[in-house]
């Protein structure tokens, strides 16, 4: 009797937790999802090209930068709230600056592990600030 009661109770809690988790996912604002996508793209860009000792592939690099610029531009164009566009423009500008620095370093074989780590640290801080700004 007691164990049956425990199973029923646990099932109920599990169902409630599942419902809450799905609500949280569904109710996440669309622009936050976009920010997270942009963050993930930028981090993967650094992971791909800021690798010490890796041969620099200019064509692949430029293609990825063009893809990044397009993604940022789409995010700016699709942002429904005009007040949020400057935040996205800032992030797009930071991506361009980062790409320019990384190109200079990677093409001359001067990438260090610390450079990659610190770049990702700044990217995360920038996106954290942007997310916080949107919540204001």
């Amino acid at each position: 009797m007691n164990s049956k009661h425990t199973i029923v109770r646990n099932t109920f809690f599990y169902a409630v937790a599942l419902a809450l988790a799905s609500c949280a996912t569904v109710s996440k604002p669309g622009s936050d999802v976009t920010l997270e996508n942009l963050r993930a793209f930028e981090i993967s860009f650094v992971d791909q090209f800021a690798v010490p000792g890796k041969r620099f592939d200019a064509a692949a690099f430029d293609a990825k930068v063009a893809q990044g610029n397009a993604i940022f531009q789409d995010a700016i164009n699709n942002e429904k709230f005009s007040a949020r566009k400057p935040v996205l423009r800032d992030l797009a500008g930071q991506f361009k600056a980062e790409a320019a620095h990384l190109r200079k370093k990677a093409s001359t074989g001067k990438v260090t592990k610390a450079l990659a780590t610190e770049m990702k640290r700044d990217i995360n801080d920038n996106f954290d600030n942007a997310t916080a700004k949107k919540a204001e």
Partner: protein
Amino acid sequence: MPPRKKQNKRAKVRPKKKKSSELDSVLDQVSDSTVADAKEELQTLLADAKGNSATFYQQNAQKLEERLILVSKGELDQDDFNFFVENQKRAAQIFIDSQPPQEQERAEKLTIHLLEVAATKIVPVLIAAAL
């Protein structure tokens, strides 16, 4: 019953000696007398920023300090450092603009000025010392 450990009461109440940071040790190795003033200014500004109650100052100073250490180890060069300083300055400018007018001068000193002292006066010496 095991014998009671003798406690050193005096040691308990004695205030802890302030630990010198890793950056202090790095800066101590810089013997160039021409940058003595810059070194002192950097250390004073860093201490002020880290002791400030606003998180932004603390984080900005912490990041700067860690990057100076990376420079001293040869893991970041002047070019990298300048790039990161520009990032920090951009964030600092937004922070300064958000401060009340009477606070802005101090905010500028503890952020942008601090970053510039590090980039223009300290990093070149650290790089020369690391070579």
